[in-house]
């Protein structure tokens, strides 16, 4: 075999092996969810779901409180992301377009806030929420999730706002727009990709959050889906079909969102990745 042929084959072979390796766990999750128990509890794995069944999905969906928790997760996530977008948009506009005293300090504050180790702050968060008598409520969760996504939303949007040429805004104002009109009509549409990318990542963060909800919302109908999934798993233990169905239900919204938005998200990510 000559060298160039080999040179063309090995990257492709490696890519196929890697692609299979990456996808396999996801594939195994979905197919297990559709397999009857006789195909799951076997000495030899059944590689394809030949005898598809929905029984595991109905087990998962009929588990106590499932729909309540779906509602909780959607409410908390949407509110947290919506609020943080609103607040971040105002803030990012100020930082990107205006000069004022303390600007550096404020940017640094948000950069540090972004590193916040929420995983180890659960104790104090628990005490605060308990003292406010708000354990098992969605309100504190919503606000804490909002803050978890706020710093990155703000700092990211600042980049997008800064990237909109100021002349656009100015010429709109020359044409008789007020500053607010110029923002709504000219700048806002140009920020759409930024808003989409940041809301995607915000959505993932809030949808997945685990340590806080684990500590704050212990009542079975007051939690969110990550909590449900972890409890479902320990409850149904060896019922891997039902557990995988539950995991699939939890993962699908994010997978779908990601596949729809990934091009925007990834290009947003890379726009400044090599900034020198």
């Amino acid at each position: 075999m000559n060298r160039s042929l080999l040179g063309r084959i090995w990257p492709n072979a490696a890519a196929i092996v890697l692609a299979l390796g990456f996808v396999f766990p996801v594939y195994w999750m979905f197919t297990t969810a559709f397999k009857p128990n006789s195909d799951i509890i076997t000495e030899d794995p059944v590689w394809f779901p030949l005898h598809g069944t929905f029984e595991h999905f109905s087990t998962a969906v009929n588990a106590p409180n499932f729909w309540t928790l779906v509602g909780n997760s959607v409410t908390v996530t949407v509110l947290a992301v919506g609020l943080s977008l609103l607040i971040a948009l105002c803030g990012s506009f100020a930082i990107a377009r205006m000069r004022f005293k303390g600007r550096k300090g404020i940017i640094l504050t948000f950069m540090v806030a972004q590193m916040a180790p929420w995983e180890v702050l659960v104790i104090s968060v628990y005490m605060i929420v308990r003292d406010a008598d708000m354990l098992n409520s969605l309100v504190p969760l919503t606000f804490f999730y909002m803050l978890m996504v706020l710093p990155f939303t703000l700092l990211t949007l600042r980049g997008y706002v800064a990237a909109v040429p100021k002349e656009l805004e100015e010429s709109a104002m020359v044409d008789g727009c007020t500053r607010r009109q110029a923002f709504v009509k000219i700048i806002f549409p140009l920020l759409a990709p930024g808003l989409m990318a940041t809301s995607l990542f915000g959505f993932i963060t809030a949808w997945n959050e685990f340590p806080l909800v684990l500590v704050l919302n212990k009542e079975p109908d007051k939690g969110t889906l990550p909590l449900w999934l972890s409890q479902f798993q320990s409850q149904f233990g060896d019922d891997w079909g039902a557990t995988m169905a539950a995991a699939s239900i939890f993962a699908v919204p994010i997978l779908v969102l990601f596949l729809f938005l990934q091009r925007k998200a990834v290009s947003g990510l890379t726009a400044g990745a090599v900034k020198g």
């Binding site: 990257p11 890697l18 299979l20 990456f22 996808v23 766990p25 000495e43 794995p45 607040i87 971040a88 105002c90 803030g91 100020a94 930082i95 205006m98 000069r99 600007r103 404020i106 640094l108 806030a113 972004q114 590193m115 180790p117 180890v120 104790i123 104090s124 005490m127 606000f143 803050l147 978890m148 710093p151 990155f152 703000l154 600042r158 800064a162 940041t198 990542f201 993932i204 963060t205 997945n208 685990f210 340590p211 990550p226 999934l229 995988m244 539950a246 939890f250 997978l255 990601f258 596949l259 990934q262 990834v266 947003g268 990510l269 890379t270 400044g272 990745a273 090599v274 900034k275 020198g276």
Partner: protein, 327 residues
């Protein structure tokens, strides 16, 4: 995962370059209103940060000086201990053992993630269009898997009796693995956690590295090839220097993310067996929330933050300096 992406977005979003900063906008609007506008716009964000982050931080500090267990919690007693919690934590063996374990764990994972991620990224750059799309879709699917769901799937893959991993090892001739209990010992539990974390982190590094390489001017590669540089030489003399900021930022993000990894470790075996896979965040959680020693837990979390800061100090200093230059 979320944290990683958040930070990533921040780091790579288009930024204001030097000179891109707007000139002072005096003379527009009426003096006072124009001057207070930025502050008004920033009040909600700053207030939210102060309340929902600043307050827990302060509260954490205060609790760490208290003797706060179940009894004091129920009776609303405030008992001060001064630095005793810290003395107890720092004087015990456990904290140092967990700290060392966390550092080794972070180092191993981040090294694996960076090396393999870069290799996959470079592979993406060499592939044809179709193959690149195939691998990219696989990576994106992995990337998008929520951490808790992925952890559950890995428990199933590594299930002792019906898990596919043991079946494959058995089929490959390693028969003693047919019923292997992966969460039965420290090293094997860490192995599962590492595979899980590395698997989930690679797409981020690989896809971004690939995207970043596309921004390197072709002439640089041509020049290096003309000088007779091989693959390795091209990487060290062109790719790496050009992408140095990318490598720094990504490594930093991965360190933070792996260090703070919570759901993966907690859901796999709650830090077991025998608390042997506890990293600092899990240790703080188990002591504080699990064993209801809130004061001790708070002291451990504060020390955890200090360790994290120490591990990332170099990069933080670098970014802060850069931010200063930019403004």
């Amino acid at each position: 995962m979320s944290v990683q992406i958040e930070d990533a977005v921040r780091d790579s979003a288009p930024r204001i370059g030097k000179g891109g900063a707007p000139p002072p906008r005096r003379g527009r609007g009426t003096g006072r209103a124009a001057r207070s506008a930025p502050y008004l716009l920033l009040i909600p964000a700053l207030a939210a940060t102060a309340v929902f982050l600043g307050w827990p931080m302060v509260r954490n500090l205060v609790i760490s000086f208290q003797n706060l267990n179940m009894k004091q919690l129920i009776q609303h007693l405030t008992e001060w201990r001064g630095f005793d919690n810290y003395a107890e934590v720092l004087g015990g063996e456990q904290f140092w053992r967990v700290t060392l374990r966390t550092i080794v764990f972070t180092a191993v994972n981040v090294t694996l993630i960076m090396v393999l991620g870069v290799l996959i990224g470079l592979l993406l750059a060499r592939l044809g269009k179709k193959m690149r799309l195939t691998l990219s879709v696989a990576l994106v699917l992995t990337w998008a898997m929520p951490a808790i769901a992925a952890t559950t799937v890995f428990q199933w893959l590594f299930d002792a009796r019906y898990g596919v991993v043991n079946w494959v090892l058995d089929a490959l001739g390693w028969h003693s693995m047919a019923r292997f209990d992966w969460v039965g010992s420290q090293l094997s539990t860490f192995f599962v956690i590492t595979v899980l974390i590395v698997w989930q982190s690679l797409p981020f590094v690989a896809l971004n590295l690939y995207a970043a390489t596309t921004t390197i001017p072709k002439e640089l590669y041509e020049a290096a090839r003309m000088d007779g540089a091989g693959t390795w030489k091209v990487f060290t003399s062109v790719t790496f220097p050009f992408l140095k900021p990318f490598f720094l930022a990504t490594t930093f993000l991965e360190v933070i993310w792996v260090f703070k990894a919570f759901p993966q470790i907690f859901a796999i075996n709650e830090g077991g067996p025998d608390r042997l896979t506890e990293t600092l965040p899990i240790y703080a959680f188990t002591e504080g929330v699990g064993n209801l020693h809130f004061g001790m837990g708070a002291a451990i979390s504060l020390l955890t933050i200090v360790v994290l800061l120490a591990m990332t100090a170099y990069y933080l200093r670098l970014t802060l300096k850069q931010e200063e230059d930019e403004l």
